[in-house]
């Protein structure tokens, strides 16, 4: 064991790692936001819609949650060109991650729908709220509060585990950048040490942001770790 760490080369290219981290962050946020919209819609369908629609949602959720994200993204990346659709690597990754997050978020948000209190909804109705107003003022805040901790945890999963799949289809997010750079000068150990640290910082920032947001918006007690 007489490996000599040489971090100099890593610092020389640090701005490229930062670019990767920024792309990772953007991918995480967009995939999560898109997934949340899909999840909200599908959870509403599962709660309120007739059986055939519920079945479609169930099929989507079962398919996604029982196959690896990598396979789903390969499907888009290698499969779509076969039917004449050509998307960039980034688009394939983002759409794959979004569809993947959508299925998991359907499950998380569904729990919130079940917990929304019918009594509060009736109170809203008797005050004259329309269906849309009930959703906006009672159901969504209630769901958000009930499932916020689970949502925040899942965001970290998307941010770290989800986006790094991009490295395998040539997206230059943080993991991808590290692979690119270290394959030039073989300083794998140095690059991955630094990148691991950057992931920790990234999730730390995201966790603090989410905890503060939760406390401010839903009075969820801040618990970062």
């Amino acid at each position: 064991m007489n490996y000599r760490f040489q971090f100099g080369v890593v610092w020389d290219n640090f701005h490229e790692l930062l670019e990767g981290a920024w792309l990772t962050f953007q991918l995480g946020v967009f995939a999560f936001a898109g997934g949340a919209l899909i999840g909200l819609f599908c959870a509403a369908v599962k709660t309120y819609a007739p059986r055939p629609f519920r079945f479609i949602v169930d099929a989507y959720v079962v398919f996604i949650t029982n196959t690896p994200a990598l396979i789903q993204i390969y499907f888009l990346y290698f499969g779509l060109p076969e039917v004449g659709l050509r998307w960039s690597n980034e688009a394939c990754l983002l759409i794959g991650l979004t569809l993947n997050a959508g299925a998991y978020l359907t499950l998380i948000l569904r729990a919130g729908f079940i917990s929304a209190r019918i009594t509060e909804i009736e109170a809203g109705q008797t005050l004259g709220m329309s269906l849309l107003q009930q959703v906006r003022y009672i159901i969504v805040p209630h769901i958000a509060k009930a499932v916020y901790p689970a949502l925040a945890n899942f965001f970290i999963v998307v941010l770290v585990m989800g986006t790094s799949v991009g490295a395998l289809i040539g997206v230059d997010e943080l993991t991808g950048q590290a692979i690119n750079l270290s394959s030039v000068n073989y300083r794998w150990l140095e690059y991955f040490t630094v990148v691991a640290g950057m992931y920790v910082v990234l999730t730390f920032i995201a966790s603090i942001g989410l905890a503060l947001l939760g406390q401010w918006a839903f009075r969820v007690k801040a618990r970062i770790f």
Partner: protein
């Protein structure tokens, strides 16, 4: 003309008919109390008035105006004229007391903010909770939450207030503060239909007592008549049980 006239109202849950022809009326500023054994349909009467349980037959008139519950717009017309307070308060838990009171006047009625907030503060004063405007419901006792619910019901300036066993979920020592608040409303001339097991309170504030059993009105009249000289065996039986304690 009666302020509220309920005529031969019927209602069902599925195939089970729970209101089998209910008729009563009250004048403006009067208070009617619905009493009777559990399951007799008292809550359903109030829910039917608010359009939460569909009316299958019969009619409801408020200030000589016929309420139809056949479209969303007509249900809203009934909800414009009446407010209901539930046994379990049903406050919006994600909002402060002030937001609970002002949400509907601001967002649904679009009344001016300054006016709405001033009225909300007046109502909180009326129910004795001026210092709780910024509290959330999980920071309040049951009695306080129920007084907030009363104030929220009043914030839309209803012509008629419906109260469904508003003290039944409360610890005994908290019942008094809620009854006091209702007493103040009575003194202000609020027209109310109340469901209550607090017979002493009913005797004190009600102008008319309606005794229900199994989805029907068995007898009704002034509190003294009904409590002291019930005409039917069923009423006599019921009151002998509830008035004993």
């Amino acid at each position: 003309m009666a302020h509220l006239a309920v005529s031969d109202v019927r209602a069902k849950y599925g195939s089970l008919e729970v209101l089998k022809g209910i008729s009563f009326s009250i004048e403006k500023g009067e208070i009617a109390a619905l009493v009777g054994p559990s399951g007799s349909g008292k809550s359903t009467v109030l829910r039917a008035l608010m359009g939460l349980t569909p009316i299958t037959e019969g009619s409801v008139e408020i200030a000589s105006e016929r309420m139809n519950y056949s479209s969303a717009k007509e249900v809203r017309a009934a909800r414009d004229r009446m407010a209901i307070v539930f046994q379990a308060y049903n406050l919006f838990q994600n909002m402060t007391v002030m937001q609970n009171l002002t949400l509907a006047p601001l967002k649904i009625k679009k009344w001016p903010k300054a006016e709405v907030e001033a009225e909300a503060r007046r109502l909180l004063g009326l129910v004795g909770l001026s210092d709780k405007a910024d509290a959330y419901s999980d920071q309040l006792s049951g009695g306080q939450q129920q007084r907030v619910a009363l104030a929220r019901g009043l914030a839309l300036k209803p012509q008629i207030l419906l109260l469904d066993e508003v003290t039944s979920a409360l610890d005994p020592e908290l019942v008094g503060e809620v009854l006091d608040a209702i007493g103040k409303l009575a003194a202000e001339g609020m027209t109310m239909v109340i469901v209550s097991h607090e017979m002493g309170f009913v005797r004190e504030v009600a102008d008319k007592v309606v005794f229900m059993d199994a989805g029907q009105i068995v007898e009704s009249g002034a509190p003294a008549e009904i409590f002291d000289a019930p005409k039917t065996d069923r009423a006599r039986d019921f009151f002998s049980k509830v008035l004993r304690h």
